[in-house]
Symmetry: C2
Subunit: 329 residues, 2 copies
């Protein structure tokens, strides 16, 4: 536990290296590493008030430029900002953040910012699990605005929405003309739709896209009780409109807190994570059990071919696991 | 096992009472009852080729009338049809099918049809689990066209889609004018969109709704490789257009089988069910474990208030469960 003491003390003192070390342990595939990270987390205790912002959007919409610009406003308001990335396709191994340093040149040099790329992981579930632990660690370390960026399009957006307070969708005018460009479900998640690149030749197109999206938003059922989704134009490259967006985010937070919806949403999310993590752990244990591993191939193939009912096969798997003959190998 | 033998023999002989008894056992909350049902299922073996059709739509669109009309065409083509209902809000206890007998007067009298209302159950997950077992039983009993009807709007549609080969969305013209009437995600599930009540005063409105939906479908990514969603008008009440719909369903089935997508979809569904059932069973066992029950309230409340990380709490729950002190009570 000497390791835990040193990490906790270092993180409390605001040092970067112990924080990075704890995150690497949380992201490790080794259970003993993750146990140390969880112990650090338990010792650090509940963090001060934080705001968790998801930033999603199609590639090329200017998410990184927007995060650079937003991050500067967040820091200027007296906050510390952490940027995490959910990218299940990423092959980056823990530690290499060259890509993000290049993408967010100014932010990555700020002492008030902490940028961490995606955990490596085969499945979105695994990546999500580690991103949640990383978020808890950076919050406990004092970063009180956490930006969760998703890369690419797919299910990452739903995952990011399930672990944040506010969902931001960044679109570029060219993509804005075409509602097909993004999965429909994603527009429904948005608390703020940002039409980026509202400058130069694209200014008029951005205006049209903004009114298209504002119309589309009116057709959707509001996601929150105390907030209606807003569509805002900006030019992150010229830092134009980003201060207004940060103000809107603060207004959102304050309305949501006043109505009690903010805390309610966080409680529901935490409860959901608790059961998601519990379920994942149980299924991992089952899959690692010797007798289950021996029986699984035949059962799976019988189920897939339709000759065995899934409930019958599930019964056999659980029975094999609960007999506990042959501890996980 | 005398019960199992009698049930298997009775079901094989085409008797209704043993089938109803096996379904009631499958729907029971008692584990020993469900074990008998699963044994019956295992003994009945793989059924002959079947077609599973989901029928969803807003209340008042005429789903029951459509199922009555479709059922008659299905039986006339030499098939036996079973109608199951997914309705998590239903308080009907196993056995009472008065509601469905009234709704589907002709079909409920046919010897070639079997109508079974929703399993009673608090959660959609529980209802889905039992519907899947019921589906396996009616298929093993020789009903080769299974219609899964959803009642109300919500997540039932996704559940129905996950256990069927073909998803049918029934709309009425009045609802069709208003895209808000149904959740967007549901249109995306549809292989066939039926604009019902295309008769009398509503005929013109049905035509407009059909072209609106056909336009909307073009914006969506196709759900299948070998089939593009179709929008069809019908008047189930006058049995008008329903024969064409049954023909379209047969065409769908044959295109999907030829491309291999039909079997692939079934395999993926069966695999998904296997893991869903396994996970459900494990979580049920964990929740019933004495030590887990003792620790859970404090852990849940600490997680919900944000003072304990979900991953730390999940660890404790799984440890308490795996120690296996205090068998489930």
């Amino acid at each position: 536990m000497a390791d835990v003491d040193a990490l906790v003390a270092g993180i409390r003192a605001g040092a970067r290296r112990p924080l990075a070390r704890a995150i690497t342990l949380a992201e490790s595939t080794r259970e003993d590493h993750r146990a140390v990270a969880r112990e650090v987390l338990a010792r650090l205790g509940k963090p001060r008030d934080t705001l968790r912002i998801a930033v999603s959007g199609v590639p090329g919409a200017g998410k990184s430029t927007f995060i650079e610009s937003l991050g500067a406003h967040v820091i200027a308001s007296g906050h510390q900002v952490a940027v995490l990335t959910i990218d299940p396709s990423s092959a980056i191994s823990g530690g290499s953040i060259l890509g993000d340093k290049t993408r967010m040149a100014t932010l990555s040099k700020s002492p008030e910012a902490y940028i961490r790329p995606s955990a490596a992981g085969e499945t979105l579930g695994g990546v999500a699990r580690r991103t949640r632990d990383t978020m808890a660690l950076v919050e406990a370390a004092g970063f009180d605005v956490v930006i969760v960026e998703t890369v690419g399009v797919g299910q990452s957006e739903t995952t990011a929405a399930s672990m944040t307070d506010l969902f931001t969708l960044v679109l570029a005018p060219a993509a804005g003309d075409d509602l097909q460009g993004i999965k429909r479900g994603i527009v429904e998640l948005a608390d703020l739709v940002l039409i980026n690149k509202a400058d130069g030749d694209l200014k008029a197109a951005a205006g049209r896209a903004a009114s298209d999206y504002a119309n589309a938003q009116r057709l959707l059922r509001p996601r929150r009780e105390s907030w209606s989704a807003r569509v805002v134009q900006c030019s992150a490259l010229h830092d134009d409109g980003v201060a207004d967006i940060w103000n809107a985010m603060r207004e959102y937070r304050s309305l949501m807190i006043d109505s009690g919806e903010y805390e309610k949403n966080r409680s529901l999310q935490a409860r959901h994570w608790l059961w998601q993590e519990t379920t994942d752990k149980l299924v991992d244990l089952l899959k690692g059990h010797t007798q289950v591993k021996a029986e699984l191939p035949a059962l799976e193939s019988a189920v897939e071919s339709g000759s065995l009912a899934p409930s019958v096969a599930a019964d056999q798997l659980v029975k094999a696991f609960m007999n506990m003959t042959g501890e996980s190998s």
